[in-house]
Symmetry: C2
Subunit: 345 residues, 2 copies
């Protein structure tokens, strides 16, 4: 990245990335410190996927380029599960729901004879999966509603601090993909505003998204249940109801992007068929665009699953990638390391 490109990419977010940009704003022509010249995508191998990211960012941030995009329109949207953090052996939020079912079971003796609760209590994941979308919704409603939004945030935060991933024996928030965290930071340093657009529950992600990804709560879009405003003895609360408000998946992702962000992204990042429409919405429009699909090809360092995972399909998005010129990042081939706690290999 040349200093000219840095200059044209400057905005309020770029400034956060460090003092490197300040001399430019002040009109000083001094050389950039070494820090700004280190590889912003150090955990990526020098392959086609990395090059497509670098080329895209260079094109949209270079003033005078036919592909130049003004800072306010540099919107990038990221799926979460399987794109920014590990979604195996099950969605983290499902693990949370199953733990909550166990915790709440003494108050619900009827769950012993009612699916999918009985399966959840017995740890029969096959039966849980077979309960389908309806079963998942029942689990979510029973475990995510019936408290205030403040209480729910506390429950999520305490659970994440306590629980470990069954294979890696680390907090789930350690299992975020280091190359993607670097990509988020690189885009922000290039004047992008980064958003999460996830099928997961928005109030499950917001308590930790800023610390883990640098994405503040107001830039997290997700699925939600309805809440109701109440005054309790002169204290206002938002009470979480057992009613779906919005499902931010598949065709719901462009809908959510329009509703919650109100601008069309010029770059989108996903890994499953739930991200297909978001990738279409971001890339099938005039001007330079970037779509990228994370491909889980590394059973050794993470998981290898192709075309179908236990809770979602990947067929359509992998088929659509070459047709639409979306980059595909193979974990095994394109990433020097998957998690931040690994050594670079």
């Amino acid at each position: 990245m040349t200093s000219k490109q840095v200059s044209s990419g400057i905005n309020r977010r770029a400034l956060l990335a460090g003092a490197a940009a300040l001399p430019v704003l002040l009109g000083l022509r001094i050389s950039l410190p070494a820090q700004a010249q280190t590889d912003p995508l150090a955990s990526w191998n020098e392959s086609a996927a990395k090059q497509s990211i670098l080329d895209f960012v260079a094109a949209v941030t270079r003033e005078g380029s036919p592909d130049f995009v003004p800072v306010p329109h540099r919107i990038a949207t990221f799926d979460n599960d399987g794109t920014l953090w590990c979604e195996q052996p099950m969605y983290v939020q499902l693990a949370f729901a199953l733990d909550r079912v166990k915790e709440l079971a003494p108050m619900h003796p009827e769950w012993k004879n009612k699916q999918p609760f009985a399966a959840a209590l017995e740890g029969d994941m096959k039966a849980v999966a077979e309960s389908g979308e309806r079963g998942m919704l029942e689990l979510v409603m029973a475990t995510h509603a019936g408290m205030t939004s403040d209480e729910f945030e506390k429950i999520v935060t305490e659970w994440l601090a306590k629980v470990r991933h069954p294979r890696f024996n680390r907090p789930y928030t350690d299992l975020v993909y280091q190359p993607m965290v670097e990509l988020l930071a690189y885009l922000r340093a290039s004047g992008f505003k980064t958003f999460i657009v996830s099928g997961g529950g928005v109030e499950f992600m917001r308590p930790w998204s800023e610390q883990v990804y640098g994405v503040p709560p107001e830039q997290v879009v997700g699925s939600s249940i309805k809440t109701k405003f109440q005054m309790r003895r002169d204290i206002p609360v938002l009470f979480r109801l057992s009613e779906i408000n919005f499902i931010d998946d598949k065709g719901g992702k462009p809908v959510g992007i329009n509703e919650y962000i109100g601008r069309r992204p010029i770059a989108a990042f996903g890994n499953s068929d739930g991200d297909l429409e978001m990738l279409q919405w971001a890339t099938k429009a005039a001007g330079r665009r970037l779509g990228l699909v994370v491909h889980h090809t590394d059973a050794e360092r993470e998981y290898a699953y192709d075309r179908a995972s236990s809770f979602g399909r990947l067929d359509a998005v992998l088929d659509a990638a070459p047709i639409n010129h979306w980059a595909v990042a193979s974990m095994k081939d394109d990433w020097k390391r998957v998690f931040g706690f690994e050594n670079v290999r």
Copy 2:
């Protein structure tokens, strides 16, 4: 505002306010340019309302102060109609809907015999008002749905460029309150992120909010209708459906703040009973908070309406203000000028 306060209020948004902040970031101790020392609230008289704003901002931005609030938590939410721009003789969006009814009438001969459309076509505003919330919804559905989101944005933009306010003979976007525009900028320069939280339609406000208020589309929360993602000959569109998605009014405002922003504001600004719950949600919590109610007391320069307007009530919020220590800004007494095109009196 002392230079110490400026320094502690600095963040990425403050930087946008101008180069005044840069020396501080660079660690230089030079005096601030004259620009930064001019009154940021120049259109406000030196009265209690202005002082309560200055005291609040000083308290939450002064590092070491017991009331200090870190930058990411400096969230301020503003109602739009009657708080940031003129809502008389009717909501601007209603004027838009009525014009659209007239434009679409040739395709809807049945409207001549159907309320509230017949009243709208005859300009009988009393009958339109009497059709109540249900009538308003019918007008909105008939005029705001049935096109793509891109098409709707174009319709709104062209209408606003063309139409003039019946009394002031100016574009509606000229009829924003200069003291409130200064307040938005002052808060941003003090490290706040400013949001609009309006009962009005979100896609009616987003096309012009950034230019007029400095509030980007992704920081506008409002009412909405449902949209549906469609692929039309390989081109993705969002189609606007005749179905209410969310009403961002009264108890819906805290719900919308939680859903779309995900952080609780520490300051809120409104003018009608539709803003009561937002003001409660922002102010009835631990820590220093600011609530402010704009009071329409100036028939000469704007409008004077107390307790009830044609399309909304003001009783509850005016009664609640003294009890909750919310500031009340009287247009007549507290504002040197109402609109930017006026001379300061």
